[in-house]
């Protein structure tokens, strides 16, 4: 299993678009601006598209290929504990958990953000607090995600970030 095509174009474009949009909204764009809203809605649309693709897309893009699994995650932890290094083609169980966490958090951010613009919830402090808390949670999750990708890349000796750009994973000799 040497050079394997894993991530289709949609998954890759989705991933990096999300990086740019989230970073822009969280770090650069003025939170009182209209642009902040539009970027937020764009993220929600992207996530929605990814949810659909997760059911009709290519093999490793489908959620069925990386279901949320505590036992799978424990198996992966056992691999790490014993120094074993079975290379995974698609998303690993721990990676899957992070993905579902991020997708859900982004939707929560988008939903709370939208509700803040409605007359019913205009000025609701708790909603703004929820929005900001979700954003902080997403930022922490992203930092953990980056650290984990770096760690797994070194452990399994596969350049994972590059794989998410080119779509190909160098799985090494058979």
């Amino acid at each position: 299993m040497p050079y394997t095509y894993v991530w289709d174009l949609f998954v890759r474009v989705f991933h990096w678009s999300l990086v740019v949009l989230f970073a822009a909204n969280a770090l650069v764009i003025d939170e009182d601006s209209k642009l902040h809203h539009w970027v937020g809605y764009a993220v929600v649309v992207l996530v929605g598209a990814r949810l659909i693709w997760g059911f009709v897309g290519t093999r490793y893009a489908r959620f069925a290929s990386f279901p949320p699994s505590i036992s799978g995650a424990t198996e992966q932890l056992t691999e790490i504990a014993t120094g074993r290094a079975h290379k995974h083609v698609g998303h690993t169980p721990l990676g899957a958990l992070m993905i579902y966490n991020l997708l859900a958090t982004l939707l929560l951010i988008g939903l709370s953000g939208y509700l803040m613009t409605t007359t019913m919830f205009w000025g609701a402090d708790w909603l703004e607090g929820l929005h900001k808390l979700a954003v902080s949670w997403a930022e922490i999750a992203v930092a953990l995600h980056i650290a984990a990708v770096v760690y797994e890349s070194r452990r399994l000796k596969i350049n994972l970030p590059r794989a998410m750009v080119t779509g190909y994973k160098d799985m090494g000799p058979e």
């Binding site: 505590i70 036992s71 932890l77 056992t78 504990a81 014993t82 120094g83 074993r84 290094a85 922490i140």
Partner: protein, 162 residues
């Protein structure tokens, strides 16, 4: 499966994140709010203790998972007792987690090729691990290692093999 401790670790991590972010925020505004640096040091020390506890628990869980992996499919009392004796030897020899895993497979009778497949590594890597195991245990072969372990089981002091 140590799900309980894993859940505990997850909760403690959330707590540690919450407390640490609170400290960072306090550091920015402590003067105007009348908090003393002494108070903040206590906050920081408490949070650091929590982080240290988390680190110990993570090590504990990984060690538990490792021992569970070596016990795969054998749950009899005899098997667990034997596993304890083997683990004690591995600890005594200061084997790394990878070396312990390879040594366990070796004791169970797997060939180098089989060990490589089971671990997802190359045969050369397995051989390097085996060399380290022999060196650290003062032995030269699988038979020597097994002999040391059986000696302990039968409660007889090992012959001068160091």
């Amino acid at each position: 499966m140590p799900y309980g401790v894993m859940a505990l670790i997850a909760v403690q991590v959330l707590c540690a994140i919450f407390f640490a972010s609170d400290i960072v925020a306090d550091l920015r505004t402590y003067a105007e709010r009348g908090l003393s640096l002494t108070y903040l040091s206590f906050e920081a020390a408490a949070t650091a203790s929590l982080c240290a506890a988390i680190l110990f628990e993570v090590r504990y869980v990984l060690d538990l998972l490792r021992r569970k992996a070596s016990l795969e499919r054998s749950a009899s009392i005899a098997a667990m007792a034997l596993s304890d004796v083997i683990e004690a030897h591995f600890d005594q020899w200061s084997l790394t987690p990878s070396e312990k895993d390879v040594a366990t497979f070796m004791v169970k009778g797997f060939s180098i090729g089989e060990i490589a497949t089971l671990r997802g590594s190359a045969e050369g890597t397995v051989k390097a691990h085996l060399n380290a195991i022999y060196r650290k245990s003062g032995t030269h072969s699988r038979a020597d290692v097994l002999s040391l372990i059986i000696d302990t089981l039968m409660n007889e002091p090992a012959s001068n093999a160091a």
